[in-house]
Protein backbone atom coordinates (compact mmCIF):
# COMPACT_ATOMS: atom_id res chain seq x y z
CA UNK A 1 0.00 0.00 0.00
CA UNK A 2 1.30 3.41 -0.91
CA UNK A 3 1.00 6.22 1.61
CA UNK A 4 -1.73 7.80 -0.52
CA UNK A 5 -3.77 4.62 -0.27
CA UNK A 6 -3.16 4.46 3.48
CA UNK A 7 -4.35 8.00 4.03
CA UNK A 8 -7.33 7.43 1.76
CA UNK A 9 -8.24 4.26 3.70
CA UNK A 10 -8.06 6.22 6.95
CA UNK A 11 -10.31 8.93 5.50
CA UNK A 12 -12.84 6.32 4.40
CA UNK A 13 -12.78 4.68 7.83
CA UNK A 14 -13.44 8.07 9.40
CA UNK A 15 -16.24 8.68 6.90
CA UNK A 16 -17.86 5.35 7.88
CA UNK A 17 -18.64 6.57 11.40
CA UNK A 18 -19.95 9.99 10.37
CA UNK A 19 -23.68 9.02 10.48
CA UNK A 20 -23.22 7.97 14.12
CA UNK A 21 -21.96 11.38 15.24
CA UNK A 22 -24.36 13.84 13.57
CA UNK A 23 -23.52 16.39 16.27
CA UNK A 24 -19.92 16.55 15.12
CA UNK A 25 -20.32 16.75 11.35
CA UNK A 26 -23.37 16.59 9.11
CA UNK A 27 -23.57 13.60 6.76
CA UNK A 28 -25.08 15.91 4.13
CA UNK A 29 -21.98 18.09 4.31
CA UNK A 30 -19.72 15.04 3.90
CA UNK A 31 -21.74 13.92 0.88
CA UNK A 32 -21.34 17.36 -0.67
CA UNK A 33 -17.60 17.17 -0.09
CA UNK A 34 -17.54 13.71 -1.70
CA UNK A 35 -19.36 14.97 -4.82
CA UNK A 36 -17.10 17.99 -5.23
CA UNK A 37 -14.05 15.91 -4.27
CA UNK A 38 -14.72 13.53 -7.15
CA UNK A 39 -15.38 16.50 -9.41
CA UNK A 40 -12.01 18.00 -8.46
CA UNK A 41 -10.29 14.62 -8.95
CA UNK A 42 -11.72 14.51 -12.47
CA UNK A 43 -10.46 18.01 -13.13
CA UNK A 44 -7.06 17.17 -11.69
CA UNK A 45 -6.79 14.17 -14.00
CA UNK A 46 -6.71 16.73 -16.79
CA UNK A 47 -4.83 19.64 -15.22
CA UNK A 48 -2.46 17.74 -12.96
CA UNK A 49 -1.68 14.68 -14.99
CA UNK A 50 -2.21 15.83 -18.57
CA UNK A 51 -1.31 19.50 -18.23
CA UNK A 52 -4.46 20.88 -19.84
CA UNK A 53 -6.58 23.54 -18.16
CA UNK A 54 -10.29 23.44 -18.84
CA UNK A 55 -12.90 26.03 -17.97
CA UNK A 56 -15.66 23.74 -19.16
CA UNK A 57 -15.86 21.20 -16.38
CA UNK A 58 -19.11 22.54 -15.01
CA UNK A 59 -20.63 21.66 -18.38
CA UNK A 60 -19.84 18.00 -17.74
CA UNK A 61 -20.99 18.05 -14.12
CA UNK A 62 -24.19 19.81 -15.11
CA UNK A 63 -24.95 17.76 -18.23
CA UNK A 64 -24.72 14.51 -16.28
CA UNK A 65 -26.78 16.02 -13.48
CA UNK A 66 -29.52 17.14 -15.87
CA UNK A 67 -29.64 13.81 -17.73
CA UNK A 68 -29.62 11.72 -14.56
CA UNK A 69 -32.16 14.00 -12.91
CA UNK A 70 -34.53 14.09 -15.88
CA UNK A 71 -34.42 10.29 -16.20
CA UNK A 72 -34.95 9.77 -12.47
CA UNK A 73 -38.00 12.04 -12.54
CA UNK A 74 -39.52 9.93 -15.33
CA UNK A 75 -38.30 6.40 -14.57
CA UNK A 76 -37.07 6.70 -10.98
CA UNK A 77 -39.54 4.10 -9.70
CA UNK A 78 -38.16 1.37 -11.97
CA UNK A 79 -35.89 -1.08 -10.06
CA UNK A 80 -33.09 -0.43 -12.56
CA UNK A 81 -33.81 3.29 -12.66
CA UNK A 82 -30.80 4.43 -10.62
CA UNK A 83 -28.05 2.53 -12.47
CA UNK A 84 -29.58 3.35 -15.85
CA UNK A 85 -29.95 7.06 -15.09
CA UNK A 86 -26.42 7.11 -13.68
CA UNK A 87 -24.94 5.43 -16.73
CA UNK A 88 -26.85 7.71 -19.08
CA UNK A 89 -25.60 10.77 -17.19
CA UNK A 90 -21.99 9.67 -17.36
CA UNK A 91 -22.32 8.78 -21.05
CA UNK A 92 -23.85 12.18 -21.81
CA UNK A 93 -21.00 13.94 -20.00
CA UNK A 94 -18.44 11.88 -21.91
CA UNK A 95 -20.15 12.77 -25.18
CA UNK A 96 -20.14 16.49 -24.39
CA UNK A 97 -16.52 16.05 -23.33
CA UNK A 98 -15.71 14.46 -26.65
CA UNK A 99 -17.31 17.35 -28.53
CA UNK A 100 -15.64 20.11 -26.48
CA UNK A 101 -12.32 18.33 -26.14
CA UNK A 102 -12.24 17.40 -29.82
CA UNK A 103 -12.58 21.06 -30.79
CA UNK A 104 -10.33 22.50 -28.11
CA UNK A 105 -7.53 20.04 -28.81
CA UNK A 106 -7.15 21.55 -32.26
CA UNK A 107 -5.43 24.55 -30.70
CA UNK A 108 -2.60 24.47 -28.23
CA UNK A 109 -1.50 26.25 -25.13
CA UNK A 110 -3.20 29.43 -24.21
CA UNK A 111 -6.05 29.02 -26.70
CA UNK A 112 -7.14 25.71 -25.19
CA UNK A 113 -8.50 27.29 -22.01
CA UNK A 114 -10.29 30.04 -23.91
CA UNK A 115 -11.96 27.55 -26.26
CA UNK A 116 -13.24 25.38 -23.41
CA UNK A 117 -14.57 28.51 -21.71
CA UNK A 118 -16.37 29.67 -24.84
CA UNK A 119 -17.83 26.25 -25.66
CA UNK A 120 -19.11 25.79 -22.13
CA UNK A 121 -21.19 28.93 -22.72
CA UNK A 122 -23.07 27.05 -25.45
CA UNK A 123 -23.90 24.27 -22.98
CA UNK A 124 -25.14 26.88 -20.52
CA UNK A 125 -27.28 28.46 -23.24
CA UNK A 126 -28.78 25.08 -24.15
CA UNK A 127 -29.53 24.37 -20.49
CA UNK A 128 -31.50 27.63 -20.35
CA UNK A 129 -33.33 26.97 -23.63
CA UNK A 130 -34.30 23.29 -23.37
CA UNK A 131 -37.57 22.39 -21.76
CA UNK A 132 -36.43 19.11 -20.19
CA UNK A 133 -33.74 20.90 -18.17
CA UNK A 134 -36.35 23.13 -16.53
CA UNK A 135 -34.72 26.29 -17.91
CA UNK A 136 -34.26 28.94 -15.23
CA UNK A 137 -35.85 26.73 -12.56
CA UNK A 138 -33.59 23.74 -13.09
CA UNK A 139 -34.73 20.32 -11.95
CA UNK A 140 -36.17 20.05 -8.48
CA UNK A 141 -37.49 17.19 -6.40
CA UNK A 142 -35.51 14.49 -8.20
CA UNK A 143 -36.42 11.17 -6.52
CA UNK A 144 -33.55 9.06 -5.21
CA UNK A 145 -35.21 5.78 -6.16
CA UNK A 146 -33.80 2.52 -4.87
CA UNK A 147 -30.70 0.49 -5.55
CA UNK A 148 -30.60 -3.32 -5.14
CA UNK A 149 -33.71 -3.16 -3.02
CA UNK A 150 -32.28 -0.46 -0.73
CA UNK A 151 -34.50 2.60 -0.46
CA UNK A 152 -32.22 5.58 -1.02
CA UNK A 153 -34.75 8.03 0.40
CA UNK A 154 -33.18 7.36 3.79
CA UNK A 155 -30.26 9.71 4.31
CA UNK A 156 -28.18 7.04 6.03
CA UNK A 157 -28.60 4.50 3.22
CA UNK A 158 -27.87 7.21 0.67
CA UNK A 159 -24.80 8.17 2.64
CA UNK A 160 -23.25 4.72 2.51
CA UNK A 161 -24.15 4.22 -1.15
CA UNK A 162 -22.62 7.62 -1.94
CA UNK A 163 -19.50 6.68 0.04
CA UNK A 164 -19.17 3.42 -1.94
CA UNK A 165 -19.62 5.25 -5.24
CA UNK A 166 -17.14 7.90 -4.13
CA UNK A 167 -14.51 5.25 -3.27
CA UNK A 168 -15.05 3.54 -6.61
CA UNK A 169 -14.63 6.84 -8.43
CA UNK A 170 -11.49 7.83 -6.53
CA UNK A 171 -9.86 4.42 -6.94
CA UNK A 172 -10.67 4.52 -10.65
CA UNK A 173 -8.85 7.85 -10.99
CA UNK A 174 -5.93 6.50 -8.98
CA UNK A 175 -5.81 3.41 -11.19
CA UNK A 176 -5.80 5.55 -14.34
CA UNK A 177 -2.98 7.75 -13.06
CA UNK A 178 -0.76 4.78 -12.26
CA UNK A 179 -1.62 2.79 -15.37
CA UNK A 180 0.66 2.79 -18.42
CA UNK A 181 -1.92 5.08 -20.01
CA UNK A 182 -1.52 7.52 -17.13
CA UNK A 183 2.25 7.40 -17.45
CA UNK A 184 1.98 8.30 -21.13
CA UNK A 185 -0.27 11.24 -20.23
CA UNK A 186 2.36 12.52 -17.82
CA UNK A 187 5.05 12.04 -20.45
CA UNK A 188 2.99 14.14 -22.87
CA UNK A 189 2.49 16.75 -20.16
CA UNK A 190 6.19 16.99 -19.34
CA UNK A 191 7.54 16.92 -22.86
CA UNK A 192 5.14 16.66 -25.71
CA UNK A 193 7.77 16.66 -28.41
CA UNK A 194 9.64 13.80 -26.81
CA UNK A 195 6.50 11.75 -26.26
CA UNK A 196 5.61 12.26 -29.90
CA UNK A 197 9.07 11.21 -31.00
CA UNK A 198 8.62 8.02 -28.97
CA UNK A 199 5.64 7.21 -31.15
CA UNK A 200 2.75 8.36 -28.98
CA UNK A 201 0.05 10.38 -30.70
CA UNK A 202 -0.04 13.24 -28.17
CA UNK A 203 -3.30 14.74 -29.41
CA UNK A 204 -5.13 11.42 -29.21
CA UNK A 205 -3.97 10.79 -25.64
CA UNK A 206 -4.95 14.31 -24.62
CA UNK A 207 -8.39 13.84 -26.12
CA UNK A 208 -8.79 10.49 -24.36
CA UNK A 209 -7.79 12.09 -21.08
CA UNK A 210 -10.26 14.89 -21.70
CA UNK A 211 -13.14 12.48 -22.34
CA UNK A 212 -12.18 10.39 -19.31
CA UNK A 213 -12.00 13.50 -17.14
CA UNK A 214 -15.39 14.64 -18.46
CA UNK A 215 -16.87 11.22 -17.70
CA UNK A 216 -15.61 11.25 -14.10
CA UNK A 217 -16.89 14.82 -13.69
CA UNK A 218 -20.21 13.53 -15.00
CA UNK A 219 -20.09 10.70 -12.49
CA UNK A 220 -19.74 13.31 -9.75
CA UNK A 221 -22.59 15.32 -11.27
CA UNK A 222 -24.91 12.31 -11.43
CA UNK A 223 -24.14 11.48 -7.80
CA UNK A 224 -24.74 15.08 -6.79
CA UNK A 225 -28.12 15.14 -8.58
CA UNK A 226 -29.14 11.94 -6.83
CA UNK A 227 -28.00 13.00 -3.36
CA UNK A 228 -29.45 16.51 -3.36
CA UNK A 229 -32.41 15.93 -5.70
CA UNK A 230 -31.59 19.23 -7.37
CA UNK A 231 -29.86 20.41 -10.54
CA UNK A 232 -29.67 24.11 -11.30
CA UNK A 233 -28.10 26.44 -13.83
CA UNK A 234 -25.36 27.07 -11.31
CA UNK A 235 -24.14 23.52 -11.98
CA UNK A 236 -23.33 24.36 -15.61
CA UNK A 237 -22.08 27.89 -14.92
CA UNK A 238 -18.62 29.33 -15.23
CA UNK A 239 -18.73 29.91 -11.49
CA UNK A 240 -18.70 26.15 -10.84
CA UNK A 241 -15.91 25.65 -13.37
CA UNK A 242 -13.94 28.25 -11.45
CA UNK A 243 -14.51 26.59 -8.13
CA UNK A 244 -13.13 23.29 -9.33
CA UNK A 245 -9.97 25.03 -10.52
CA UNK A 246 -9.63 26.59 -7.08
CA UNK A 247 -10.21 23.30 -5.24
CA UNK A 248 -7.54 21.57 -7.27
CA UNK A 249 -5.07 24.42 -6.99
CA UNK A 250 -5.59 24.85 -3.26
CA UNK A 251 -5.26 21.13 -2.51
CA UNK A 252 -2.38 20.47 -4.85
CA UNK A 253 -2.28 20.10 -8.62
CA UNK A 254 -0.99 16.69 -9.67
CA UNK A 255 -1.45 15.03 -6.27
CA UNK A 256 -4.12 12.40 -5.77
CA UNK A 257 -5.41 13.55 -2.39
CA UNK A 258 -5.03 17.28 -3.05
CA UNK A 259 -8.35 17.72 -4.85
CA UNK A 260 -10.18 16.05 -1.96
CA UNK A 261 -8.56 18.37 0.57
CA UNK A 262 -9.25 21.37 -1.66
CA UNK A 263 -12.87 20.37 -2.15
CA UNK A 264 -13.39 19.92 1.59
CA UNK A 265 -11.86 23.34 2.29
CA UNK A 266 -13.80 25.20 -0.39
CA UNK A 267 -17.14 23.55 0.47
CA UNK A 268 -16.49 24.24 4.15
CA UNK A 269 -15.50 27.82 3.39
CA UNK A 270 -18.75 28.37 1.49
CA UNK A 271 -20.76 26.99 4.39
CA UNK A 272 -19.11 29.18 6.96
CA UNK A 273 -18.80 32.27 4.79
CA UNK A 274 -22.36 32.11 3.47
CA UNK A 275 -23.20 35.04 5.74
CA UNK A 276 -20.80 37.49 4.15
CA UNK A 277 -22.49 37.22 0.75
CA UNK A 278 -20.63 38.90 -2.08
CA UNK A 279 -17.37 38.96 -0.18
CA UNK A 280 -17.08 35.18 -0.77
CA UNK A 281 -15.98 35.98 -4.33
CA UNK A 282 -13.32 38.32 -2.95
CA UNK A 283 -12.06 35.65 -0.55
CA UNK A 284 -11.96 33.05 -3.33
CA UNK A 285 -10.07 35.48 -5.57
CA UNK A 286 -7.56 36.21 -2.82
CA UNK A 287 -6.99 32.49 -2.25
CA UNK A 288 -6.31 32.17 -5.98
CA UNK A 289 -3.74 34.96 -5.84
CA UNK A 290 -2.04 33.61 -2.74
CA UNK A 291 -1.93 30.04 -4.09
CA UNK A 292 -0.50 31.07 -7.43
CA UNK A 293 2.00 33.51 -5.94
CA UNK A 294 3.27 31.71 -2.89
CA UNK A 295 2.44 28.04 -2.84
CA UNK A 296 1.91 26.67 -6.26
CA UNK A 297 2.20 23.09 -5.05
CA UNK A 298 -0.97 23.41 -2.99
CA UNK A 299 -1.44 22.14 0.56
CA UNK A 300 -0.89 18.46 -0.13
CA UNK A 301 1.86 19.21 -2.63
CA UNK A 302 3.73 21.39 -0.11
CA UNK A 303 3.37 18.68 2.51
CA UNK A 304 4.76 15.99 0.21
CA UNK A 305 7.61 18.31 -0.78
CA UNK A 306 8.43 19.06 2.85
CA UNK A 307 8.41 15.36 3.76
CA UNK A 308 10.65 14.46 0.85
CA UNK A 309 13.14 17.18 1.76
CA UNK A 310 13.17 16.07 5.38
CA UNK A 311 13.77 12.47 4.34
CA UNK A 312 16.64 13.58 2.15
CA UNK A 313 18.23 15.58 4.93
CA UNK A 314 17.87 12.76 7.47
CA UNK A 315 19.60 10.27 5.21
CA UNK A 316 23.40 10.21 5.37
CA UNK A 317 25.06 11.01 2.12
CA UNK A 318 25.10 7.85 0.05
CA UNK A 319 28.43 6.35 -0.80
CA UNK A 320 29.41 7.10 -4.34
CA UNK A 321 28.27 4.23 -6.49
CA UNK A 322 29.51 3.68 -9.97
CA UNK A 323 27.05 5.15 -12.46
CA UNK A 324 24.48 2.70 -13.64
CA UNK A 325 25.16 1.74 -17.19
CA UNK A 326 22.19 0.79 -19.29
CA UNK A 327 22.04 -2.94 -19.42
CA UNK A 328 22.24 -4.44 -22.85
CA UNK A 329 19.80 -7.27 -23.11
Amino acid sequence: MTSTQKIFAALVLAALVVPFVPGLIYPIFVMKVMCYGLFACAFNLLLGFTGLVSFAHAAFLGTAGYVTGALMIRFGAHPLGVPAAFAAGVAAAALVGFAIGGLAIRRRGIYFAMITLALSQIVYFLAVQFRWTGGEDGLQGIPRGSLLGLDLASDTVMYYVALALFCAGFLFVERVVHSPFGQILQAVRDNEARATSLGYDAGRFQLLAFVLSAAVAGYAGALKALVFGLVSLNDVSLHTSTEVVLMTLLGGVGTLLGPLVGAALVVGLQNYLATIGDLVTVVIGLIFIVCVSFFRRGLVGEFLHWRRRRAERARPLPAREPPVVAKVA
Binding site: G109, F125, G285
Partner: protein, 301 residues
Protein backbone atom coordinates in the same frame (compact mmCIF):
# COMPACT_ATOMS: atom_id res chain seq x y z
CA UNK B 1 -39.05 44.56 -47.30
CA UNK B 2 -41.23 47.17 -45.67
CA UNK B 3 -39.82 50.32 -44.14
CA UNK B 4 -40.34 49.24 -40.57
CA UNK B 5 -38.42 46.00 -40.91
CA UNK B 6 -35.67 47.82 -42.77
CA UNK B 7 -35.51 50.27 -39.86
CA UNK B 8 -35.37 47.40 -37.37
CA UNK B 9 -32.75 45.68 -39.47
CA UNK B 10 -30.54 48.76 -39.61
CA UNK B 11 -31.05 49.37 -35.91
CA UNK B 12 -29.89 45.86 -35.04
CA UNK B 13 -26.96 46.22 -37.38
CA UNK B 14 -25.96 49.41 -35.60
CA UNK B 15 -26.21 47.67 -32.24
CA UNK B 16 -24.05 44.93 -33.71
CA UNK B 17 -21.51 47.43 -35.01
CA UNK B 18 -21.24 49.04 -31.58
CA UNK B 19 -20.80 45.63 -29.96
CA UNK B 20 -18.16 44.93 -32.57
CA UNK B 21 -16.30 48.12 -31.63
CA UNK B 22 -16.06 46.94 -28.02
CA UNK B 23 -14.96 43.47 -29.10
CA UNK B 24 -12.33 45.04 -31.33
CA UNK B 25 -10.90 47.30 -28.62
CA UNK B 26 -10.88 44.55 -26.01
CA UNK B 27 -9.37 41.90 -28.26
CA UNK B 28 -6.69 44.35 -29.43
CA UNK B 29 -5.75 44.92 -25.80
CA UNK B 30 -5.59 41.18 -25.22
CA UNK B 31 -3.47 40.70 -28.33
CA UNK B 32 -1.04 43.46 -27.31
CA UNK B 33 -0.64 42.04 -23.81
CA UNK B 34 -0.30 38.51 -25.09
CA UNK B 35 2.33 39.57 -27.61
CA UNK B 36 4.81 40.80 -25.03
CA UNK B 37 3.81 39.13 -21.75
CA UNK B 38 2.73 35.80 -23.15
CA UNK B 39 -0.24 35.64 -20.83
CA UNK B 40 -3.95 35.85 -21.42
CA UNK B 41 -5.22 38.70 -19.32
CA UNK B 42 -8.28 37.29 -17.58
CA UNK B 43 -8.58 40.58 -15.68
CA UNK B 44 -9.43 42.40 -18.90
CA UNK B 45 -13.19 42.25 -18.32
CA UNK B 46 -12.88 43.41 -14.72
CA UNK B 47 -10.66 46.31 -15.83
CA UNK B 48 -13.25 47.28 -18.44
CA UNK B 49 -15.89 47.20 -15.70
CA UNK B 50 -13.71 49.14 -13.28
CA UNK B 51 -13.24 52.01 -15.76
CA UNK B 52 -16.99 52.20 -16.38
CA UNK B 53 -17.55 52.28 -12.63
CA UNK B 54 -14.92 54.95 -12.09
CA UNK B 55 -16.66 57.09 -14.71
CA UNK B 56 -20.00 56.57 -12.99
CA UNK B 57 -18.51 57.27 -9.58
CA UNK B 58 -16.93 60.42 -10.93
CA UNK B 59 -20.22 61.65 -12.37
CA UNK B 60 -22.61 60.81 -9.58
CA UNK B 61 -20.80 59.84 -6.38
CA UNK B 62 -17.67 61.91 -5.88
CA UNK B 63 -19.58 65.16 -5.23
CA UNK B 64 -21.82 63.78 -2.45
CA UNK B 65 -18.86 61.93 -0.93
CA UNK B 66 -16.89 65.14 -0.65
CA UNK B 67 -19.93 67.11 0.48
CA UNK B 68 -19.92 69.16 -2.72
CA UNK B 69 -23.05 68.12 -4.66
CA UNK B 70 -22.06 70.21 -7.67
CA UNK B 71 -18.70 68.59 -8.15
CA UNK B 72 -18.77 66.25 -11.11
CA UNK B 73 -16.09 64.56 -13.13
CA UNK B 74 -17.60 64.92 -16.58
CA UNK B 75 -17.53 62.37 -19.38
CA UNK B 76 -14.57 63.87 -21.24
CA UNK B 77 -12.43 64.02 -18.15
CA UNK B 78 -13.48 60.49 -17.22
CA UNK B 79 -12.50 59.28 -20.68
CA UNK B 80 -8.92 60.24 -19.79
CA UNK B 81 -8.81 59.75 -16.03
CA UNK B 82 -10.57 56.40 -15.65
CA UNK B 83 -8.44 54.49 -18.17
CA UNK B 84 -5.33 56.08 -16.68
CA UNK B 85 -6.28 55.00 -13.16
CA UNK B 86 -7.14 51.50 -14.31
CA UNK B 87 -3.84 51.31 -16.18
CA UNK B 88 -1.88 52.40 -13.11
CA UNK B 89 -3.70 49.82 -11.03
CA UNK B 90 -2.96 47.20 -13.68
CA UNK B 91 0.71 48.13 -13.83
CA UNK B 92 0.96 47.86 -10.06
CA UNK B 93 -0.35 44.32 -10.27
CA UNK B 94 2.04 43.52 -13.09
CA UNK B 95 4.97 44.83 -11.05
CA UNK B 96 4.08 43.13 -7.79
CA UNK B 97 2.42 39.86 -8.76
CA UNK B 98 2.50 39.02 -12.45
CA UNK B 99 6.20 39.66 -12.87
CA UNK B 100 7.08 36.81 -10.52
CA UNK B 101 5.38 34.30 -12.80
CA UNK B 102 6.99 34.99 -16.18
CA UNK B 103 9.47 32.15 -15.88
CA UNK B 104 6.67 29.65 -15.19
CA UNK B 105 4.08 27.95 -17.33
CA UNK B 106 1.62 30.50 -18.77
CA UNK B 107 -1.10 28.69 -16.82
CA UNK B 108 -0.09 30.52 -13.63
CA UNK B 109 -0.37 33.95 -15.19
CA UNK B 110 -3.81 33.00 -16.39
CA UNK B 111 -4.90 31.83 -12.94
CA UNK B 112 -3.44 34.88 -11.22
CA UNK B 113 -5.19 37.37 -13.49
CA UNK B 114 -8.33 35.33 -13.02
CA UNK B 115 -8.03 35.64 -9.23
CA UNK B 116 -7.51 39.40 -9.52
CA UNK B 117 -10.66 39.60 -11.65
CA UNK B 118 -12.64 37.74 -8.99
CA UNK B 119 -11.44 40.09 -6.26
CA UNK B 120 -12.33 43.17 -8.31
CA UNK B 121 -15.77 41.91 -9.33
CA UNK B 122 -16.58 40.72 -5.82
CA UNK B 123 -15.40 43.99 -4.34
CA UNK B 124 -17.52 46.16 -6.64
CA UNK B 125 -20.47 43.88 -6.03
CA UNK B 126 -20.04 44.23 -2.30
CA UNK B 127 -19.94 48.01 -2.40
CA UNK B 128 -22.35 48.79 -5.23
CA UNK B 129 -24.63 45.75 -5.58
CA UNK B 130 -25.54 43.99 -8.81
CA UNK B 131 -28.26 46.31 -10.04
CA UNK B 132 -27.33 48.33 -13.10
CA UNK B 133 -26.50 52.02 -12.79
CA UNK B 134 -27.40 54.40 -15.56
CA UNK B 135 -24.88 56.87 -16.97
CA UNK B 136 -26.03 59.92 -18.89
CA UNK B 137 -24.00 60.73 -21.99
CA UNK B 138 -22.72 64.33 -22.11
CA UNK B 139 -25.27 66.89 -23.27
CA UNK B 140 -23.57 67.59 -26.56
CA UNK B 141 -23.98 63.94 -27.55
CA UNK B 142 -27.58 63.58 -26.47
CA UNK B 143 -30.42 63.39 -28.97
CA UNK B 144 -30.55 61.87 -32.43
CA UNK B 145 -28.59 62.60 -35.56
CA UNK B 146 -29.74 62.01 -39.13
CA UNK B 147 -27.25 59.83 -40.97
CA UNK B 148 -29.12 59.95 -44.27
CA UNK B 149 -31.11 56.75 -44.23
CA UNK B 150 -32.12 56.71 -40.56
CA UNK B 151 -31.98 58.54 -37.23
CA UNK B 152 -29.36 57.39 -34.78
CA UNK B 153 -28.58 58.50 -31.25
CA UNK B 154 -25.64 60.87 -31.50
CA UNK B 155 -23.81 59.06 -28.77
CA UNK B 156 -23.78 55.76 -30.69
CA UNK B 157 -22.33 57.41 -33.75
CA UNK B 158 -19.70 58.99 -31.53
CA UNK B 159 -18.80 55.60 -30.04
CA UNK B 160 -18.33 54.01 -33.45
CA UNK B 161 -16.18 56.87 -34.74
CA UNK B 162 -14.13 57.13 -31.54
CA UNK B 163 -13.47 53.40 -31.34
CA UNK B 164 -12.45 53.15 -34.96
CA UNK B 165 -10.06 56.07 -34.44
CA UNK B 166 -8.58 54.45 -31.35
CA UNK B 167 -8.19 51.12 -33.14
CA UNK B 168 -6.53 52.79 -36.08
CA UNK B 169 -4.20 54.80 -33.82
CA UNK B 170 -3.19 51.66 -31.96
CA UNK B 171 -2.54 49.82 -35.18
CA UNK B 172 -0.45 52.73 -36.44
CA UNK B 173 1.51 52.93 -33.20
CA UNK B 174 2.38 49.23 -33.28
CA UNK B 175 2.93 48.66 -36.97
CA UNK B 176 4.28 51.96 -38.27
CA UNK B 177 6.34 53.68 -35.58
CA UNK B 178 9.75 53.10 -34.10
CA UNK B 179 8.22 52.41 -30.69
CA UNK B 180 6.03 49.79 -32.29
CA UNK B 181 9.10 48.23 -33.86
CA UNK B 182 10.68 47.92 -30.41
CA UNK B 183 7.53 46.31 -29.08
CA UNK B 184 7.41 43.82 -31.92
CA UNK B 185 11.08 43.10 -31.43
CA UNK B 186 10.31 42.45 -27.76
CA UNK B 187 7.72 39.92 -28.84
CA UNK B 188 10.20 38.13 -31.06
CA UNK B 189 13.30 38.16 -28.90
CA UNK B 190 13.27 40.09 -25.62
CA UNK B 191 16.83 39.14 -24.63
CA UNK B 192 18.34 40.41 -27.83
CA UNK B 193 16.36 43.63 -27.50
CA UNK B 194 17.66 44.07 -23.97
CA UNK B 195 21.18 43.57 -25.22
CA UNK B 196 20.61 46.55 -27.53
CA UNK B 197 20.01 48.71 -24.48
CA UNK B 198 16.23 48.77 -24.28
CA UNK B 199 14.82 48.45 -20.78
CA UNK B 200 12.59 45.49 -21.52
CA UNK B 201 11.02 45.07 -18.05
CA UNK B 202 9.81 48.68 -18.12
CA UNK B 203 8.58 48.19 -21.64
CA UNK B 204 6.59 45.14 -20.54
CA UNK B 205 4.98 47.08 -17.69
CA UNK B 206 4.06 49.95 -19.99
CA UNK B 207 2.68 47.57 -22.60
CA UNK B 208 0.49 45.93 -20.01
CA UNK B 209 -0.67 49.37 -18.93
CA UNK B 210 -1.45 50.29 -22.53
CA UNK B 211 -3.49 47.13 -23.14
CA UNK B 212 -5.39 47.70 -19.92
CA UNK B 213 -5.97 51.35 -20.80
CA UNK B 214 -7.60 50.23 -24.06
CA UNK B 215 -10.00 48.13 -22.00
CA UNK B 216 -10.53 51.16 -19.77
CA UNK B 217 -11.41 53.46 -22.68
CA UNK B 218 -13.84 50.84 -23.95
CA UNK B 219 -15.33 50.67 -20.47
CA UNK B 220 -15.95 54.43 -20.24
CA UNK B 221 -17.39 54.49 -23.76
CA UNK B 222 -19.67 51.60 -22.83
CA UNK B 223 -20.95 53.20 -19.61
CA UNK B 224 -23.78 55.22 -21.28
CA UNK B 225 -24.76 52.29 -23.54
CA UNK B 226 -24.67 49.32 -21.20
CA UNK B 227 -25.84 49.31 -17.62
CA UNK B 228 -22.88 49.87 -15.31
CA UNK B 229 -22.78 46.69 -13.22
CA UNK B 230 -19.98 44.64 -11.67
CA UNK B 231 -20.82 41.82 -14.09
CA UNK B 232 -20.71 43.82 -17.32
CA UNK B 233 -17.11 42.89 -18.06
CA UNK B 234 -17.13 39.18 -17.31
CA UNK B 235 -19.82 38.23 -19.77
CA UNK B 236 -18.30 40.46 -22.44
CA UNK B 237 -14.88 38.90 -21.91
CA UNK B 238 -16.24 35.41 -22.62
CA UNK B 239 -17.29 36.59 -26.07
CA UNK B 240 -14.03 38.41 -26.61
CA UNK B 241 -12.16 35.18 -25.90
CA UNK B 242 -14.09 33.51 -28.69
CA UNK B 243 -13.27 36.47 -30.94
CA UNK B 244 -9.62 36.09 -30.09
CA UNK B 245 -9.69 32.37 -30.80
CA UNK B 246 -11.22 33.02 -34.21
CA UNK B 247 -8.93 35.91 -35.15
CA UNK B 248 -5.77 34.73 -33.47
CA UNK B 249 -3.64 36.78 -31.10
CA UNK B 250 -0.84 37.20 -33.58
CA UNK B 251 -2.05 40.31 -35.34
CA UNK B 252 -3.53 43.58 -34.14
CA UNK B 253 -5.32 44.18 -37.41
CA UNK B 254 -6.75 40.66 -37.26
CA UNK B 255 -8.14 41.26 -33.79
CA UNK B 256 -9.77 44.48 -34.96
CA UNK B 257 -11.33 43.08 -38.14
CA UNK B 258 -12.60 39.93 -36.41
CA UNK B 259 -14.09 41.93 -33.55
CA UNK B 260 -16.02 44.27 -35.86
CA UNK B 261 -17.13 41.44 -38.14
CA UNK B 262 -18.43 39.29 -35.33
CA UNK B 263 -20.29 42.24 -33.83
CA UNK B 264 -22.10 42.73 -37.14
CA UNK B 265 -22.91 39.01 -37.40
CA UNK B 266 -24.29 39.12 -33.87
CA UNK B 267 -26.47 42.07 -34.85
CA UNK B 268 -27.77 40.16 -37.89
CA UNK B 269 -28.57 37.16 -35.72
CA UNK B 270 -30.71 39.38 -33.51
CA UNK B 271 -32.90 40.07 -36.55
CA UNK B 272 -33.14 36.46 -37.71
CA UNK B 273 -33.19 34.40 -34.51
CA UNK B 274 -32.88 36.58 -31.40
CA UNK B 275 -32.49 33.74 -28.89
CA UNK B 276 -29.29 32.56 -30.54
CA UNK B 277 -27.62 35.97 -30.60
CA UNK B 278 -25.88 35.34 -27.27
CA UNK B 279 -24.15 32.21 -28.53
CA UNK B 280 -23.68 32.86 -32.23
CA UNK B 281 -20.08 33.98 -31.68
CA UNK B 282 -19.31 30.74 -29.84
CA UNK B 283 -20.89 28.66 -32.59
CA UNK B 284 -18.87 30.51 -35.21
CA UNK B 285 -15.78 29.84 -33.14
CA UNK B 286 -16.55 26.11 -33.12
CA UNK B 287 -17.06 26.13 -36.90
CA UNK B 288 -13.88 28.13 -37.43
CA UNK B 289 -11.95 25.57 -35.37
CA UNK B 290 -13.23 22.80 -37.60
CA UNK B 291 -12.38 24.60 -40.81
CA UNK B 292 -9.27 26.59 -39.93
CA UNK B 293 -7.78 25.33 -36.68
CA UNK B 294 -4.97 27.90 -36.73
CA UNK B 295 -7.35 30.86 -36.68
CA UNK B 296 -8.14 33.26 -39.49
CA UNK B 297 -5.14 35.50 -39.01
CA UNK B 298 -3.27 33.31 -36.61
CA UNK B 299 0.16 32.07 -36.28
CA UNK B 300 0.15 29.21 -33.83
CA UNK B 301 1.03 30.19 -30.26
Amino acid sequence: MSDITLQAFMAQLTVGLIGGCFYAMLSMGLAIIFGLLNIINFTHGAQFMMAAFLAWIGLTQVGPWLGQPDLQVNFWLALVLAPALVAVFGMAIERTLLRRLYHLDHLYGLLLTFGVALVMEGGFRYFFGVSGQGYEPPEILQGPVDVGFMLLPKYRVFVVVASLLICFATWYLFERTKLGAYLRAGTENPRLLQAFGINVPVMITLTYGFGVALAGIAGVLAAPIMQVTPLMGGSLLNIVFAVVVIGGLGSILGAMVTGLGLGLIEGLTKVVYPEASTVVVFVIMALALLVRPAGLFGREA
